[in-house]
């Protein structure tokens, strides 16, 4: 039998499996009411459409695994909200069965990034395309206080030369610098840039997050409070260093 004309020789492989790490938003579900979820999701997406549109997401069903859930409808609803479900973790075996019927991979509960290689391509495939333009995004500079209830989203770095009040939310795809008291929430590397840092001259934040790894005010060490700090990621661990 003739072999394929463009046959590959043994020393030039057609593919290789590699373990890759990628950060995607995980949707932790607390309710099984699809209407409520869809409504709240739409509201969330409205607040930061650039961040969520066509973004892949992983459903975490741990909190509702005891409950009845129409996964088929839910996945439809989420896909219709312009996000893409690329996996499911946690949940009951019945829910896993449904997920398999929907061709959605079921992932290990502990760590998403150690998902089996066979599932890896799917995740990579539907990841947002935006990160490609990351380096080109210019910095955003804000020279007035960010007040409670205000939200600021920056495509590149975000530099604020005033205070950020409690109840305010600042987000950047790159680094965040706050030359004033940081009392609100600060989220750097929101599209998954693990190299991003947060710098502030007075840390009193409600929440800080780098590429989805976050810490709330209650868990801040007292030695880091009210002093200038740098916050960065080291092997998925959030490090807060006095500077």
């Amino acid at each position: 039998m003739p072999t394929n004309a463009q046959s590959t020789t043994e020393d030039s492989p057609a593919f290789e499996f590699k373990s890759g790490v990628i950060t995607i938003p995980v949707l932790n579900l607390f309710s099984t009411d699809i209407n409520v979820i869809t409504h709240q999701l739409r509201e969330k997406i409205k607040q930061a459409p650039e961040f969520f549109t066509n973004s892949s997401t992983l459903l975490d069903l741990s909190a509702i695994q005891e409950k009845e859930l129409n996964l088929t409808l839910l996945v439809d609803a989420i896909n219709n909200s312009s996000m893409r479900v690329v996996g499911v973790r946690g949940g009951s075996s019945l829910q896993h069965q449904t997920a398999k019927e929907l061709m959605i991979p079921v992932m290990a509960t502990q760590n998403v990034s150690t998902a089996k290689p066979t599932e890896q391509p799917k995740v990579t495939h539907s990841a947002p395309v935006e990160p490609k333009n990351l380096p080109a995004a210019p910095s955003t500079i804000i020279n007035q206080p960010v007040r409670s209830g205000q939200r600021i989203y920056a495509k590149g770095d975000l530099i604020i030369t005033a205070q950020v009040s409690p109840g305010a939310e600042i987000m950047a795809e790159g680094n965040i610098h706050v030359y004033g008291s940081l009392r609100g929430r600060a989220l750097a590397g929101v599209l998954g840039d693990e190299q991003a840092s947060i710098f502030c001259s007075d840390l009193q934040a409600e929440l800080v997050s780098i590429a989805g790894n976050y810490r709330i005010s209650e868990d801040l060490d007292d030695s880091n409070r009210n002093v200038p700090v740098q916050i960065y990621l080291n092997n998925q661990a959030l490090i807060i260093k006095n500077i």
């Binding site: 007035q144 206080p145 960010v146 007040r147 409670s148 209830g149 205000q150 005033a162 205070q163 009040s165 409690p166 109840g167 305010a168 008291s181 009392r183």
Partner: protein
């Protein structure tokens, strides 16, 4: 050019209407023709504080709906000929206010008045938004407690993003802090935020501190703006606020507990 001042806070019960009445009267007493508008449609109060509740014929909503002219609705104060009051409607709700209608009324007032004081309702909904939308200056009334401070902070965010000046890219609204119901004794005990605490959170130009005072309640009940009671500490504090707003440099008072001598302590003040 008329200046439109909004008296706002976010939170209710902090002293917006008391402040509106006091500074409007204060500005008028200084000889500036001043109008004060009650934006709290459905919860009309300003007319009571100014003691003109029995003279209300037409109101703000009537003027917006062109059921009455501005001159018909404006009530001239009996104590000061430079002060006019435009009362709110008690039988309607905030939906009766439209941006276009409010803009038209303010434009017309601006032709003859020097200062227009807008008494904002509490909250961050329609009434409050329209009260601040056209403003040039904002008096943010805050009580020295955390929830009031946070609500003021929220209001400041709205002032800097949703006003006409913000939307048209003009010079932003000038924001002033007015700390009311301040009690130095309780601050000393640590039961109340201090001026510094509030300033640290809001970082805003402090226009004045109004001490907690019995005279405010009695003035409200009597329908006399507290600023007319020149013997009371609150009245003096509001006079200072008006002077500072008009550019006078006056040192802040009522921030520290006054040390009472033995006689005063025995016989009261």
């Amino acid at each position: 050019m008329a200046r439109i001042i909004v008296v706002t806070s976010g939170k209710g019960g902090v002293g917006k209407t008391t402040t509106s009445a006091a500074i409007a009267m204060g500005l008028a007493k200084k000889g500036h023709k001043t109008a004060v508008i009650d934006f709290d449609v459905g919860l009309r109060n300003l007319d009571l504080i100014l003691g003109c509740e029995r003279r209300v014929v037409y109101d703000f909503v009537n003027v917006i709906n062109e059921e009455a002219t501005l001159n018909q609705a404006l009530i001239k104060d009996k104590r000061c000929s430079q002060l006019y009051i435009l009362p709110a409607s008690q039988t309607r709700d905030k939906d009766a206010l439209t941006q276009e209608g409010v803009g038209k009324v303010l434009d017309e007032l601006a032709k003859t008045f020097k200062y227009i004081v807008c008494d904002s309702p509490a909250g961050i909904e329609r009434g409050a938004n329209l009260a601040m939308y056209f403003a040039d200056d904002a008096f943010v009334v805050t009580n020295p407690e955390v929830s009031s401070v946070r609500d003021s902070d929220r209001m400041l965010g709205i002032l800097s993003s949703k006003s006409r000046r913000a939307e048209q890219g003009d010079e932003p609204i000038k924001e002033y802090l007015l700390l009311s119901r301040y009690d130095p004794k309780r601050v000393k005990l640590g039961a109340m935020l201090s001026v510094e605490d509030v300033q640290d959170i809001l970082s805003l130009h402090l226009l004045g501190v109004i001490p907690e005072s019995q005279s405010v309640l009695s003035a409200s009940n009597a329908g006399e703006p507290v600023i007319l009671d020149s013997d009371s500490d609150a009245g003096q504090a509001y006079s200072d606020v008006v002077d500072r707003y008009l550019g006078e440099d006056k040192p802040h008072r009522f921030i520290d507990e006054d040390k009472k001598g033995l006689f005063k302590r025995l016989f009261g003040s």
